[in-house]
Amino acid sequence: MSLFVDAFVTSILYAAFFSIAALGLNLVFGVMRIVNLAHGEFLVMGSYLAIALANSYGFNPVVSLAVVVPVFLAIGLLLYFPLVPRLQKSGDPEMSSFILFFGVSYAMEGLAVQLFGVSYQSLQYNLFKPIHVGILGYIIPTAWIVTAAVSVVALVLVYFYLYRTGLGLQTRALMINRDEAMANGVNINAVSAIAFGFSIALAASAGVFSSFISFPTSPSIGDTFTLISFAIIIIGALGNPLATVVGAVVFAYAYGYTEIYAPNWSSIVPFIILIAVILARPQGLLGRKAREF
């Protein structure tokens, strides 16, 4: 019984973490209608930066965020202009983006291997004092609590950006109808570039905490994060950033419980849910119609 409750509590933490891991991917798809297959690689790069900062300066991950977020926001903005506008002029941006960003993810994985080697690395739990805290009789690593707290703050910030600012309004307009948004004077490139930058920065901030909560950091783990993020945003609804949270909750609970009761099969769970959701309800649990016929 306590195993069951344990899984319930850890799944909440999983859900918070995976929400921000997947959120950026959904933002990019919603705004630009392109698929960023290198999403997980950006997450891994954020993780490496945090590990490097902790190793050389003893930075606590929350402090590293102050470096990671601006750096990756800048990288996102710099990558946007040579890649995305050109891509959107091509015949089928959605399909082309798949291949383009697969290339980017390859190059980044190769770069990570060259820079950091192939071995697994992690942040230490003792970056936080005390290492564990007791909540309602449960002993939980402080790092997990911090991860969940940062994720929730990030989610709230994204919500405020999208629903309480002018740029956010333009972003949502772009998500709903590209042509009409353009006709109403939305500067597509500016709004998209900012969304792209945010997406990369969100992925990297999730990466800062990823070695605490999910997998140790290695160059090859990026694909896993990309696929999990995809599963989550499709379960929620493709192109609706806040539905990501619903997807993350469903994913986290399915994953958390199979990990306890059928550990051999737990890694298949996201894919099984993904295929099941796509077949039964391709628009996602919260989405509008997506089937073509």
Partner: protein, 323 residues
């Protein structure tokens, strides 16, 4: 259904192009191993040509990109290996049965063909991962060998396998040629360009896409069986290899020119050799070079080199212009 509709009335017009496809490939496969004495590279080339043609049928002609396309290759390899090692089937029926498994699996996924592009690509990627995790699972070791791989060395025959693969690689190129000249291929291209217009004309686009999907997965399954047979023993990672048997094939097809008869073959022959050279000389930066190559390809020559080659050939043959 009336299958006579699938073929054009005038098959003779195919002869020149068929010769231009078959002759160079035959020369390459016969003389290749004598010039560069490493048969396994040429076997892989044959396998990649089959995969590129198979992918071309789906991606080039219908516009649907199954990103986890390598799953059919892997199922073909595993189906063949399991039938040979557990049921002692002879090789030929085992390979055909393995390919039939791949085609059956593709039938299972036909509901995905109703989805728009991104959903389709992602779900085929998910299917790939799910099947990899199933086949490499330790709980299924008695059937699939799990993570320890599967062996069927009793039927190993490298030279025979090489000849069969070479012949079938050429045959798959011919299949693409026939499709491109048939009403079936024309229907597929029309569906790719404007599905709604085709539906309005009374053609079931879903049915045609399903046929293309079946043919494609069957050819991939055959390629998988032949590859597995040549290895005699393989680990799950060797055939469930997203990099090699999905992404590399996509790159080959794109580089050559998707939706053309010659593009995938030319692209595979050129880029596969480049890839082999890169693997040997720059194995450290292979990922970076190939990743950047992909980016450049999709941004600058999204239609591949086939149109460029065609233009060059036209200039050579008709210096004053064709008309």
């Amino acid at each position: 259904m009336n299958f006579r509709h699938f073929f054009l009335k005038d098959p003779k017009r195919m002869w020149p192009e068929a010769t231009m496809l078959v002759a160079p490939l035959a020369v390459l496969f016969i003389l290749g191993p004598d010039i560069y004495p490493n048969q396994s590279i040429f076997l892989e080339l044959a396998v990649f040509i089959m995969l590129a043609d198979a992918l071309n049928i789906v991606y080039g002609y219908t516009g649907y990109l199954p990103f986890g396309f390598g799953v059919f290759f892997a199922i073909g390899a595993y189906g063949t290996a399991i039938l040979i090692s557990h049921a002692s089937w002879p090789v030929a029926p085992a390979i055909i049965a393995g390919a039939c498994f791949a085609a059956l699996l593709s039938l299972l996924f036909t509901p995905l063909l109703r989805l728009s592009g991104a959903y389709f690509a992602i779900s085929s990627l998910a299917a790939f991962e799910a099947f990899y995790l199933i086949f490499s699972n330790t709980q299924l070791t008695s059937l699939t060998g799990g993570p320890y791989g599967i062996s069927f060395t009793q039927v190993y025959n490298a030279n025979l396998d090489y000849s069969v693969a070479a012949v079938l690689a050429i045959a798959s190129a011919i299949v693409v040629l026939v499709i491109s000249k048939s009403t079936f291929g024309i229907a597929l291209q029309a569906i790719r360009e404007d599905r709604f217009a085709v539906e309005l004309a009374g053609v079931s686009s879903l049915r045609y896409r399903t046929y293309a999907w079946l043919i494609s997965s069957f050819i991939s399954g055959i390629a998988g069986g032949l590859y597995g047979w040549y290895q005699g023993f393989f680990y799950p990672e060797a055939v469930f290899n997203l990099t090699e048997f999905s992404v590399l094939v996509i790159v080959f097809v794109l580089f050559g020119g998707k939706g053309t008869v010659f593009g995938p073959v030319v692209g595979t022959v050129i880029l596969f050799l480049v890839y082999e050279i890169l693997t040997i000389t720059f194995s450290n930066s292979l990922l970076i070079i190939f990743g950047l190559l992909l980016v450049v390809l999709i941004l600058f020559i999204p239609n591949g080199i086939e149109p460029l080659l065609r233009k060059a050939a036209d200039l050579l043959l008709y210096p004053d212009g064709r008309d």
